[in-house]
């Protein structure tokens, strides 16, 4: 039997309330209320609690733990993901994966760990007036995150899915590297995306949040922050709605949290939506604009030998060969990685009408997948998307395509297909509504030159939502300063992936941990003065 730190903590008297069970309104008083318990919220909570502050954590999703993580997609997607893992952009062109549970995205992410790339930090300094975030200034914070979460280079040989990327890169003389991962005692199972069943993944769920709860923080799950309370230029707290057991409809119970400081950590999309609902001051109308996705293109390949893409650490090899083609602000660069392929995720991305779909699924054990994270937000023709509110107050991201993006999508698909053939694929299908299984690189290349890279034609995904509440010193282009403090409302801070002024250019969790550790320290200082 695997020890379950959440079950143990609850048994030891943690203050954790599942609001779906509440029948009466509540009013709470605290030093700091944190909205969201993902990468930013978790890290921030631990720092504040260690400094002796009273913290209330508000989380829209449920509190689940290893005993619930049965490695089934049919459980994980509706329970642990935003909109059952079916969140889409307004035109339905991009499928967005975000966590919605205690631990947020860190409970379901694939454990790949990178510091913010130096060209990204330099770009922010140069173009977005970000201060105190150069490589040297950030290093101690990344080191801290590495130590806290056991991040190290993965010593186990890659599974065949990742080995194909390495082999293809070697064949073509492209660079590749071995992934760093935030795991301790990982059994190489490959189910990170459904919640780690043995607590090997060092998510916020099993690290910082238990530490915060051990030191007396209170956690409200199934609780949605609906709007901020503020008066004049001071934020006073947050009004929340309890959600029903499925997390779909509000129950009518309201929880009001009054606090000396409010930290927004609902993630990109979530945090800007809360600001928009609250009507907080935003003289330059920045909230929700410049939301980035690392739009992901993907290709599946059929190999004669077994690949078994559902087994083994999901991501262990990557290639940055095409990440910075002409520096940070040249044509769109992309990072190459590999996705795990379990039945549901595969079935929904393999897009062949009729019996061809099942024929493809029946070969799942022989399918290899590759993905390209396209680095958006660095070029004027890549301004990202805009979070708007639906009439019921829920967020909807409008993410228009530009020719700059289309060019990147096309190049990235070609790069992946070429690598897959070089690795020995018999057939490759770049994910596009009108693509076919191609038997040679030449045939695929010709097709990819012609296929339209338009919305709902090229298949796009995102597991990295960033931006929408950018940081920087200039209030005309940033909503919070370089330490995450709101430019216009006192005692309001933002610490999550929404603060980045561009996308990151690599998987973002460590960027969020590092930035949050730095900024939470600034918050502690401000609370003490």
């Amino acid at each position: 039997m695997i020890p379950d730190p959440i079950a143990e903590g609850l048994a030891n008297g943690w203050s954790a309330v599942d609001a779906s069970g509440l029948s009466e309104n509540k009013t709470l008083e605290t030093d700091v209320v944190i909205v969201g318990t993902g990468a930013g919220g978790g890290m921030c909570a631990e720092v504040l609690c260690a400094a002796g502050f009273k913290v209330v954590l508000i989380e829209e999703g449920p509190l689940r733990s290893s005993r619930d993580f049965t490695m089934r997609e049919s459980f994980a997607y509706p329970e642990l993901y935003q909109e059952s893992a079916s969140r889409k952009t307004k035109d339905k062109a991009i499928n967005i994966l975000q966590g919605r549970c205690v631990g947020g995205g860190t409970t379901v992410n694939w454990t790949s760990s990178f510091e913010t790339p130096p060209p990204t930090l330099a770009h922010w300094q140069k173009h977005h007036d970000v201060a105190g975030c150069d490589e040297a200034a950030m290093k101690p914070w990344f080191d801290k995150a590495f130590a806290r979460l056991g991040i190290h280079q993965w010593p186990v040989p890659p599974n065949p899915n990742n080995a194909a990327l390495q082999r293809g890169a070697e064949q073509l003389g492209l660079s590749f590297e071995i992934m760093q991962r935030n795991v301790r005692g990982c059994a190489n199972l490959g189910y990170c995306g459904m919640g780690c069943p043995i607590n090997a993944k060092q998510s916020m769920l099993i690290t910082t949040i238990p530490a915060a709860l051990d030191s007396g923080a209170a956690l409200y799950s199934r609780t949605r922050a609906v709007r901020l309370m503020f008066s004049g230029d001071r934020v006073q707290g947050v009004v929340c709605a309890a959600l029903d057991e499925r997390g779909v409809f509000p129950t009518g119970v309201q929880i009001e949290v009054r606090a000396k400081a409010v930290v927004l950590a609902g993630g990109a999309i979530g945090t800007p939506a809360l600001l928009l609902r609250s009507g907080t001051p935003d003289p330059y109308q920045l909230a929700g604009k410049r939301t980035f996705l690392h739009p992901v293109t993907a290709a599946t390949a059929f190999f004669e030998e077994e690949i078994r893409p559902f087994e083994g650490a999901p991501q262990s090899i990557y290639s940055d060969e095409y990440l910075w083609p002409e520096g940070a602000d040249g044509p769109m660069g992309f990072k190459l990685e590999v996705p795990p392929l379990h039945p549901v995720i595969s079935a929904t991305v393999l897009d062949f009408p009729g019996s061809a779909h099942h024929t493809a699924m029946a070969r799942l054990a022989h399918i290899q997948g590759m993905l390209a994270l396209c680095r958006d937000g660095f070029h004027p023709d890549s301004p990202g998307g805009q979070v708007n509110l639906r009439t019921d107050g829920s967020p909807l991201l409008d993410y228009p395509f530009t020719d700059f993006l289309r060019d990147g999508f096309r190049r990235s698909l070609k790069a992946m297909v070429e690598i897959q053939f070089a690795a020995g694929a018999k057939e490759v299908v770049p994910l596009h509504r009108h693509s076919q299984p191609y038997k040679t690189w030449a045939e695929a290349k010709k097709a990819l030159d012609a296929l339209p890279m338009d919305p709902t034609m090229v298949r796009l995904f995102s597991a990295h939502v960033m931006g929408g509440c950018p940081l920087g010193e200039d209030p005309r282009q940033a909503l919070v300063n370089s330490e995450g403090r709101h430019h216009h409302l006192q005692h309001l801070w933002v610490m999550d992936g929404s603060v980045f002024p561009t996308s990151i250019g690599s998987n973002p969790q460590v960027s969020i941990y590092g930035m949050t550790l730095k900024n939470a320290e600034a918050l502690v200082k401000s609370l003490k003065s």
């Binding site: 039997m1 695997i2 379950d4 290893s66 005993r67 619930d68 993580f69 049965t70 490695m71 089934r72 997609e73 049919s74 997607y77 509706p78 909109e83 059952s84 079916s86 035109d91 339905k92 199972l189 189910y191 069943p197 043995i198 499925r246 997390g247 779909v248 409809f249 077994e306 559902f310 379990h342 039945p343 549901v344 595969s346 079935a347 929904t348 897009d351 009408p353 009729g354 019996s355 779909h357 099942h358 024929t359 699924m361 029946a362 070969r363 799942l364 054990a365 022989h366 639906r390 019921d392 829920s394 909807l396 509504r433 009108h434 919305p455 709902t456």
Partner: protein
Amino acid sequence: MQRRTFLKAGLLGGTALACAGWLSHDTFWGKGTHLAAKGDHRYDFLTEADHAVVSALAPAVLAGSEAAGNPKLTEEVVHAVDQTIAAFQPSVQAELRQLFTLMTLAPTRVLVCGLWRDWPAVTPDDADAMLRGWHASRTALLRSAYDGLQQLITAAWYGNPRSWPALGYAGPPPFHNNGEVTE
């Protein structure tokens, strides 16, 4: 079902979908306002009329799989689709309500789906032809309606352990994380 009907459906589909928002609020049509119920399967979103739609589409979407020719498995798929939708947020449920209204009302069914017969009489070939039309449609709304239905139905089946043996997937490793072996 003829190619011309698709083209027409493609052109008119957008307008029809836009109107369905209003139609779905109108109880005058009276159709399918009762939630489906099949044996022990309680339904939370799909009405009897919607149930017939998904039951007709599933064998076409899952053609070649064990679920396609097996009414009991098809029913499991339809029920899983219902439970998935019931977990979607209200605004997405409302969008799907519009789509199902559009597909179940006779005039829009003929116009947009190109189906003269009502859903219980729709054959897998009819459903397949309709789906291929939507998949390749020039109307973005129909393409995304296709994607939505395809994803709901395939997720429902391939999330079901019964589908796994045919994929060469043995399921998650047996594991003692909750005091029980999961398989």
